[in-house]
Symmetry: C2
Subunit: 502 residues, 2 copies
């Protein structure tokens, strides 16, 4: 396979940008092309998540080719939800690696801030499963439910979890303060974090990445430059929350990482820094575990111990991450690569010499993830592969004709305070495992006393399921019912005596 | 570059399909996989145009991977408007040609018939330029204006043009009658064609492809099979109509063809049959000229002479084309490839042995086009390259600060009878070249007496331009105005005599 190198990089200052999507993309592309020795490209790969609904633009590839003054040049739009920028890099990589093209421009962009928060939330929620959306779920709601499950699985107290999430937010905002392209360039304190409101328990506003406009671009080439795309990998995961068996790890990241490490002939130990998809602070923790940097359940400790700090052993999101740099969805996966190239080139303000970095991008609720490994070509790097190939996790097909039980147990839950249109806060949502083993996302009739493991009743409405906690009185009733039932069954099972008398 | 072969093919019966997009895709994929010796693929490339607006599905790649039971496998969505299926083939081709994957599944699909015609027309119109859309333009409207320009350029009478377009429709519907997967399997007569209503003059209902649900799939592999992807090429063209200098040819097709012919080491003379994008009958004629099969202006004659008939020298759309097979936008580019493979394999009912075929797919208003050349691997084919590389046509940038003249000349026009919501039929639209050379799409205050070359007045409203024909009375007024103006200017230019008297 032909090696693929990075020739030029560019990005806009992320944040609220008054320009159109095409103008933002033009800006990033221009910077990438002028910073490159290559001014002429043979094709354009464009990662955009949803210009159809964000800005009313279909046929975006032709539109952007036109806007760049590159009409005629082949242009393709690539989309994998919020990892579209990384997907475009992979498509561009494959095109150059095949020898079909020698030089391509890869672009990622999104224009979001012109819409209201509720409209943006609605468009973003389009990436999650339809049934779960109908129940009132949003991206933060599902991320919160994953976080609650993580807390329970690794036996963390609520305050310990809060400390960990806060540490990620404080670290990334601190890092963003040094990044002139970041949306937020001010450090935040623990107090600021704690003063921020809950979006979906246990996630606060400062656990969630912002709404952002921006674009990023790279020029990829088969001619040797100072930075090489050493490994690229992709994996998918179940679209829905209820289609999963694993909640506290993202198999899509593990699949992508396995491929990227194998290709780059390296392992987690060979990585010197990483830019990962911290759309939600807990996702940074889970992702650093999935990438093999830390054992499951140990990602939070690593943040608290400073291992992932900008001057730590393994800086994670030294650019500020999605949290502080901002998250124009189609651009983020590519912006990570731009940041990584800057770091490898010593253009990011750090005095440390980095030779190998990794970027990880997440599409939707970790349903389409990418890992890219970048290396300086002048460094002599050890080749020590070693990362287990994960088993493919097939979305659980629901047992077809099993009756739905109307009783179940809470698998995880959240209280949603920023609700989609048509749903009033606070909105309790729980993933319930009904007695036949199926997972159901249900809306709570009450939002108090929720806990993983609590028993609930399920009721089907027209659009979704409702759950009610089994109360004390109800539990007594149930126990009586069970008792009567067992006695009745015992009676039935008892052989009928010859004289017919029980 | 690694050679890329077709291992399996599949498609659904096109038409109104009650199933969901995911189910339709599942069906096509299943057929492709079971008809292939390869059951396991390493990645999925999915061409879909606009599931966001057609069915409310974002994150479609993960969604479809899930639906196929292939969760975990990398899946990417590729989009280039109505050529998305062909774009997915090209992306899959590059991935296999690079050696990154050995076996990939390429899918194309769209679900459209559940929406009203006006809603579908609105979504489809999203692919055209925003300003032109605001003026009331739809895809058929712009295609009609291209057709009117073609008629004028090649000096065709209205009835000659009508005869040509009718011949394309009759031929393709006749071919569709033999295709069990086609939406329409009945031949149509000249009378049926002529009885059909105008959608946008000179295009009738039978000049336009229908609204369709459907999916198509191919398995691509690096292991040799009986059919090879010998050449693939892509080109883009200006998004808007008014950004063009050439109307009667699509540079995007010429670019794509040049690359595909060069790669396959062949020329138009080496092609034995073609499936081309006849979303509108005139596009088949223009495309066969752009592909180099016929000289400019001669494509219509070729249809009338039977050259492109199913038993002619060069069958074009022997499957029925988009006209009769149907046009689920994201699937069409891939369905063409499925049909071509069937023909090469002798599975299409024809007794003739075909060894090399070509498919051509059009994105939007010919703004993103693809050409693919397929060959039987057991045939010994002559390698005779020869197709001129076209000059790249950059979208005309409008002279920045030139004042807009309020007078101009009709470059081309149409009367639109099927109008988008908010516009009443008949709606006259004209592309007007104003006196400073800019092209403007404008709405007519009247819809009679329109003709290419007629002079008009232009007036700006809030959303678009209006034009009025310069009438007899107005022309007299103008001539008087011009006269007065010239006399005034002559006076000013005249040096003032020493005595101060004029």
């Amino acid at each position: 396979m032909q090696s693929v190198y990075v020739a030029g990089i560019g990005m806009t200052k992320f944040g609220k940008d008054p320009r159109s999507l095409a103008e933002i993309c033009h800006d990033a592309a221009q910077t990438a092309l002028t910073s490159s020795e290559i001014q002429e490209v043979e094709a354009i790969y464009i990662g955009v998540m949803n210009p159809e609904e964000f800005t009313g633009d279909s046929n975006i590839a032709s539109h952007i080719a036109d806007a760049l003054g590159l009409t005629g040049i082949p242009a393709v739009r690539i989309e994998t939800a919020s990892s579209a920028g990384a997907a475009a890099v992979q498509a561009g990589f494959q095109a150059v690696a095949s020898g079909y093209y020698r030089r391509v421009l890869v672009l990622g962009g999104e224009k979001m801030t012109h819409l209201s928060t509720s409209a943006t939330t609605r468009v973003l929620a389009g990436v999650i499963d339809k049934e779960e959306r109908q129940c009132g779920a949003t991206m933060p709601a599902l991320a919160a439910m994953i976080t609650e499950k993580y807390r329970e699985k690794f036996n963390l107290s609520q305050s310990r979890l809060e400390t960990m999430l806060c540490a990620v937010a404080v670290k990334n905002h601190g890092n963003g303060a040094h990044n002139p392209m970041a949306q937020f360039q001010k450090p935040i304190s623990r107090e600021t974090y704690l003063a921020s409101k809950y979006v979906a328990t246990p996630l606060r506003l400062y656990d969630c990445s912002p709404i952002t406009d921006g674009a990023a671009a790279v020029v990829l080439t088969s001619e040797k430059t100072d930075v090489r795309l050493a490994g690229v990998g992709q994996g998918t995961g179940p679209l829905s929350l209820r289609g999963r068996e694993i909640f506290t790890s993202f198999p899509a990241t593990r699949m992508a990482a396995a491929r990227a490490y194998r290709m780059a002939e390296t392992s987690p130990q060979g990585i010197e820094f990483a830019e990962v998809h911290d759309a939600f602070t807990p996702f940074e923790i889970i992702t650093t575990e999935d990438l093999g940097f830390f054992a499951p359940g140990k990602g939070g400790d690593a943040v608290l111990e400073g291992v992932t700090a900008i001057d730590g052993r393994l800086p994670v999101n030294p650019s500020g991450g999605l949290k502080a740099r901002g998250h124009p969805v189609g651009a983020s996966g590519l912006a990570q690569i731009v940041e990584a190239v800057k770091r490898l080139r010593g253009e990011s303000g750090s005095k440390r010499q980095f030779n190998r970095g990794l970027t990880q991008s997440t599409g939707g609720l970790a349903s389409n993830n990418f890992v890219t490994i970048l290396e300086r070509t002048d460094a002599s790097l050890p080749r020590t592969p070693g990362f287990p190939q994960p088993a493919r996790q097939v979305a659980k097909s629901r047992p077809a004709k099993m009756p739905m039980s109307n009783e179940g147990v809470i698998e995880t839950f959240t209280i949603l305070y920023v609700t989609p249109d048509g749903f009033l806060p606070p909105l309790a949502l729980a993933l319930v495992r009904e007695q036949n083993g199926r997972l159901i996302l249900a809306q709570g009739e009450e939002s108090k006393h929720l806990k993983i493991g609590r028993e609930v009743y399920l009721k089907r409405t027209e659009d979704y399921y409702l759950f009610t906690l089994k109360g004390r009185f109800k539990m007594v009733q149930d126990s009586l019912k069970r008792n009567l039932w067992q006695r009745a069954r015992a009676l039935v099972r008892k052989p009928i005596p010859a004289d017919g008398k029980l």
